[in-house]
Symmetry: C2
Subunit: 120 residues, 2 copies
């Protein structure tokens, strides 16, 4: 199947997980388009100053793969600057958040995979 | 967890799936680093003229999300040109391949998710 950029659902979300500014979620694939245990497959854009607040994950993994910009990642209590090509991920019981403290847009892939099969 | 670009395993593979040239797999995350049913989480680079040959998938989904360049995708018997921001994916019983017929490198994310839980 092919899906064009223009068909991808854009969901700008203010104060995502208690963060600052607007988090732009581009839902590359919807959960309903997949048969596996992927509940989110997105590209996320944070303008300078925007962030996704700290939040936890239970029985799932959330992967952030940086495409462009510089990310400040809160990863299980530690803070790291990460760059294009770097990856940050948390699993069951983990918590994280991400902020754009830089001067250019931050773009990254975020994929959430659940431990349990999807409910259909 | 954080993994830097320099720590990501690069695996240049000639004639991947019977294709032309070299397919460069950057294994962003290894299967062993994840607890969910993801058996491949990579960035793939194809130089002009390189391709991944036609191949099938059984009880798994393979997602190609285009980052840069132009891809010629063979998707279940149809051929499409797809561009940055577009996505192509196949599921159980599907077959696909991808070629760089353009003049600049083709980069894309490829994620393979299995229907069944991982063997541990």
């Amino acid at each position: 199947m092919i899906k064009r950029w223009s068909q991808i659902r854009r969901d700008p979300t203010p104060n995502a997980r208690g963060g600052e500014g607007v988090t732009v979620f581009d839902h590359i694939l919807e959960k309903s388009e997949l048969k596996t245990n992927c509940r989110m497959f997105t590209k996320i854009t944070l303008e300078p100053g925007a962030s996704i607040g700290h939040h936890g994950h239970t029985r799932e993994e959330d992967i952030y793969y940086i495409l462009s910009g510089i990310a400040t990642v809160y990863d299980n209590g530690e803070t790291h600057k990460i760059y294009p090509g770097d990856v940050a991920w948390v699993g069951d019981g983990g918590s994280h958040g991400i902020a754009n403290d830089g001067e250019v847009p931050l773009e990254f892939i975020s994929v959430i995979l659940t431990y349990d099969p999807p409910e259909r």
